[in-house]
């Protein structure tokens, strides 16, 4: 696992607050530091503002107050975003969908085809390159979406409940793939989910948010081995982690 290409970037959130024009406060003055190369899960009740925080970090939305900075990654850190649904372009083949970020960055056709094929292979979809999104299953489409995010070899990968709409089996398979990719690539990953077992299985650190406006109610290091397999889900350690997250989540809901 030493073939890490990039170490990822750190994220520093300072006093960030987001109030929507409607007056709804989504994120309450929030401080958070994410170390470069870590895998962090954002957990919290639905609609609590954790997705808003992710959009703020991606610069898809501007904070009302506060600032977000990155550590490392140069002048323009490479950030990728995976949405709840695949959001592919239905008129493009899988390969052209996966190559989109490179195309927008002005990478030549030969190089972007090569790199998109590599990214597709990484999510196990090399065979589907010439197909159209509608010919794929939901899980395969999500993997194309993941390949599209990975194709630029991002320093920071943001995922907003990416596998929530998939069946349990597919979701677990994708969890494994994502974790393996992280171990291999070493980029920083922020993963929003409302499923506690997914957070415990995937992340090294879980941040639990209260209901809206999002405040941090717990910041917990997940003490599970680096190499994780499906069998870990039934161990006492794993269940203890999941339960600990559950406890603080309930507290956050109440307070």
């Amino acid at each position: 696992m030493q073939e890490t290409t990039r170490a990822g970037i750190g994220v520093i959130v300072r006093g960030v607050r987001r109030v929507f024009p409607t007056g709804v406060e989504a994120v309450a003055r929030l401080d958070l530091t994410v170390e470069a190369g870590s895998f962090v899960a954002f957990v919290g009740p639905s609609g609590c503002g954790k997705s808003t925080l992710l959009r703020l970090i991606a610069d898809l939305d501007r904070p009302t107050e506060g600032s977000i900075a990155f550590e490392g990654g140069g002048a323009r850190p490479s950030i990728a975003f995976v949405f709840q649904d695949p959001h592919l372009m239905p008129w493009r083949r899988v390969l052209e969908n996966a190559a989109l970020p490179l195309e927008l960055a002005g990478v030549g056709e030969r190089e972007r085809t090569e790199r998109a094929l590599v990214a597709l292979a990484e999510v196990g979809l090399a065979d589907a390159a010439a197909r159209f999104p509608r010919e794929l299953s939901g899980g395969m489409r999500m993997r194309v979406s993941l390949a599209r995010a990975l194709v630029t070899e991002p320093d920071l990968l943001l995922l907003d409940e990416p596998f929530a709409a998939l069946d349990e089996l597919t979701r677990r398979r994708l969890d494994d793939q994502l974790r393996a990719l992280w171990l291999k690539r070493g980029m920083t990953v922020l993963f929003v989910t409302h499923t506690l077992s997914e957070a415990a299985y995937l992340a090294e650190r879980a941040i639990v948010f209260s209901k809206r406006p999002a405040r941090i109610v717990a910041d917990r290091t997940i003490t599970l081995p680096r190499e994780r397999a499906a069998s870990i889900r039934s161990t006492a350690e794993f269940l203890a982690e999941e339960h600990a997250l559950y406890e603080v989540l309930v507290q956050g809901e109440g307070g």
Partner: protein, 259 residues
Amino acid sequence: MRPSVERVTAPLGALVLFLAIWEGLTRALDVPLYLVPPPSAVLSAGWAEASTLLVGALTTGRAALVGFALSAVLGVLAAIVLASSRLLERALYPYTVFLQTVPIVAIAPLLVLWFGPGLRAVAVSAFIVSVFPVIANALAGLRSVDPALRDLFRLYGASRTATLWKLELPSAVPEIVTGLRVASGLAVIGTIVGEFVAGFAEGAPGLGILVLSSYRQLRTDVLFAAVLAAAGLGLSLFAAVNLLGTILLRRWHASELQR
């Protein structure tokens, strides 16, 4: 296989039955030829005037095509401009509705004054009648781009032109095709109406002129044949747009899948 055979035989059967009843009734009731000619009379009139009708269809078809092409190009361009800002849309969109409500017969004389009689005035008439559905549908298409894909284009720093060419226009293709479908029929109607007022020029008379002249001579059978030719023209244009839609959309859009 049966349903696909039926798709051809059922409408054909209905047509034959309809023509048979029409033929039978006009003969049985002894309807005068100048009021309602039987299909057989229309057919023989069409055969006798075949070359005139063909030349007329070519003249009319050319004007309709020019008008339709203008609608397609200028309509989509107008939609792009309107979609570029809410303010522009608010300020200008109400006036595009004016295009749809303007009585073309009333302004056709103006077109003759401005563009001179003949192809140009007639094509402009076809354009005015057919451009609105293109603008309205293309605008709806450009407005309904997946917001997440917009975010993605922003995240990767896409330029305004890249967003237009790679995201907005491809997203709007289904709606643009719908607009063109409606416009294709309207373009032929606009051409015939334009010819009524502005079609008198040197060169071959179009179908609209043939309709007028056969009406004045009470050659109702020729009139029917000319109307049929005009309908055929509209159908061919519509079929061409449909074919274009199928080619563009068959791999990805629900409207063209497994029909």
